[in-house]
């Protein structure tokens, strides 16, 4: 195994426009690693598990940093730090669920450096994969986490097509819940992808967590006003309160009138390779009062279709309990 002595040689590019960054990425043809806050990147480099020849640092690009009110909602630059997202009064007023989700990411130090774009585009934390094993996700033929001896306490309950890794992003669940749109710069053009379709599971592509491809740059996250100022709930359960990834998280937004739920979007994190919409729960909620009885009645729907692994059975009641907690007033 390689010694963890010094940083490997990496060519560094620091473009000041998205167009330049994209052109460099295109020229490097997949060999250029897009660097945002670096909180995912440096782990890979430190472990010598990935070896990018060149790095394209987005920090100097001005137009993709900051939070702005738009006619239809809020636009957040992908390079906006999680700290800024967490402390922004506009987001706190309209979408407190995102404030809470950003505030539960890792630790204050990481939130100061880590970006919203980096948080949603980060790679999975499956330790077999991160350790550099040649698993399916790394282009190999096997899932070590899903082997009879695999340690899979944190892994998927749903959608495990060969690979059982889960999405580690806390903000992703909130962004899917509020129906955000990801704005991607691709080959000189702007491509807009609903957050729900931005994340992809292993059945679609086993080596990628998102639709981002070499040369793509996530520039903004736009949140429409559709779910602004609605009732919401976010909770993340992890082994530790700080600096840990979710065992299960939940992000819920609800439109209510007179205590009755008219519409809802409920999303679970860390149970699938993508943030999982609980559509059966959402459907069952419509027209029901937001109370304990409704919560008990629909909670069981959340885990329908779950396939547990050797060590993650606890996630099933955890999911159901989080749904209950989200629906209690």
């Amino acid at each position: 195994m390689a010694a963890h002595d010094v940083m490997p040689d990496i060519e560094l590019f620091q473009p000041i426009t998205v167009e330049d960054a994209s052109a460099i990425a295109a020229r490097l043809d997949g060999a250029g690693w897009i660097l945002a806050g670096g909180q995912d990147t440096y782990g890979w480099l430190k472990d010598r598990a990935k070896h990018p020849g060149a790095m394209i640092d987005l920090a100097a690009i001005e137009g993709i940093n900051g939070i702005n009110a738009t006619a239809s909602g809020i636009s957040i630059g992908a390079m906006t730090t999680l700290r800024d997202v967490m402390r922004d009064p506009l987001i706190a007023e309209k979408f407190p669920i995102l404030t809470q989700a950003a505030g539960r990411v890792a630790s204050p130090q990481i939130r100061n450096q880590g970006t919203l774009g980096g948080n949603v585009a980060q790679d999975t934390r499956c330790w077999y994969y991160r350790r550099g094993l040649s698993c399916y996700r790394a282009g190999g033929n096997i899932c070590y986490a899903d082997s009879p001896e695999g340690m899979n306490r944190e892994h998927a309950l749903f959608g495990a097509s060969r690979c059982v890794a889960v999405s580690p992003s806390d903000t992703a669940t909130a962004l899917v819940a509020v129906d955000a749109t990801m704005v991607i710069h691709r080959e000189g053009r702007e491509k807009r992808v609903p957050a729900e379709q931005f994340f992809i599971g292993p059945a679609i592509n086993i080596t990628h967590m998102t639709v981002l491809r070499p040369g793509d740059i996530l520039t903004h996250v736009e949140i429409p006003n559709t779910w602004a100022n609605t009732e919401s709930y976010f909770e993340k359960v992890a082994d530790r309160d700080v600096w840990d990834f979710a065992l299960v998280s939940i992000a819920a937004v609800m439109k209510t009138s007179g205590g009755v739920i008219d519409d809802a979007r409920i999303v679970c994190g860390a149970v699938e390779c993508v943030p999982r919409r609980l559509r059966s729960v959402e459907q069952a909620l419509r027209g029901k009062p937001r109370n304990e009885q409704t919560a008990d009645a629909v909670a069981g729907l959340a885990s329908g279709g779950a396939r547990t692994l050797n060590h993650n059975q606890f996630k099933v009641p955890l999911m159901e309990n989080l749904v209950r907690r989200a629906l209690r007033t």
Binding site: M1, R131, I142, C143
Partner: protein, 254 residues
């Protein structure tokens, strides 16, 4: 360019992953070159008068065989597209479509083998010593199938059997409605399965492209028609086949 992809794991051991998919472009380029060369040769050669499709119709393929052929053809194309497109960067939910098409192909091949061996003239597809004289003796005509058709069929058979055999082993490793993925095969065994599955897939890409090309060639189109409607004309028969080696039935329609 490597033939297979190998990766070193964290313990420094080499892990066999599968065939190197750079070969896909080599196979496509070679196939394209072969087609271009054939087109040039055929353009230079003097055009032979084409036999008429009019007149009495003789049965070349019955309904059963035609159905099998098209089921196998469609399932093979679905398998090739669902297998290769994700490799070259088109993302979609391919695996379920792939294994369903694989099961269809397996069933069709199995029935075809049983029918060909026990209920049909199996010898008509076997390459006999006298077939080998075909390319060298002008005017020598084949029985039901020419040496080229037999060669294509045998190459296809070999590749399809390998792709089915390895595909079934890999199929046992994934989630299906009938069982949960066991994840039980050793990594090295899986590596070999992927190598064989990949090599046979590459071969099938080339052969399928050539097969489609020849099916569309003007002088061979009557064979394609016979695979759709079942018949060839008496004129086409006598121009291309030796009645001493194959005598087809006359169809009811003419």
């Amino acid at each position: 360019m490597e033939i297979v992809t190998v990766r070193e794991d964290v313990w420094g051991r080499e892990v066999l992953l599968g065939v190197s998919w750079d070969w896909l472009w080599v196979i496509l380029a070679l196939t394209f070159a072969a087609i271009v060369v054939h087109l040039l040769i055929m353009a230079v050669l003097r055009k032979q008068p084409r036999p008429s499709a009019a007149g009495k119709r003789l049965t070349r393929h019955d309904n059963f065989d035609r159905s099998f052929h098209w089921i196998m053809a469609i399932s093979t194309l679905v398998l090739l597209f669902t297998g290769v497109l994700p490799i070259i960067g088109y993302d979609f939910n391919w695996l379920t479509i792939h294994w369903i098409a694989g099961l269809v192909l397996t069933g069709a091949v199995l029935l075809h083998v049983i029918r060909a061996v026990f209920f049909q003239d199996f010898g008509s597809m076997v390459v006999a010593p006298k077939d080998l004289k075909e390319p060298f003796e002008k005017g020598r005509k084949p029985g039901k199938y020419s040496l080229a058709q037999k060669g294509m069929h045998h190459a296809m058979t070999l590749l399809v059997l390998v792709v089915i055999g390895t595909g079934l082993v890999l199929f046992l490793q994934i989630d299906t409605p009938w069982w949960d993925r066991p994840n039980s095969l050793a990594e090295s065994t899986l590596g070999w399965m992927f190598v064989l599955h990949g090599v046979s897939t590459l071969g099938l890409v080339g052969l399928t492209a050539l097969h489609v090309y020849f099916a569309l060639r003007p002088e061979k189109r009557f064979y394609t028609r016979s695979m759709i409607s079942g018949w060839i004309s008496e004129d086409e028969f006598s121009a291309n086949h030796d009645p001493a080696r194959w005598m087809p039935d006359e169809t009811a329609r003419s």
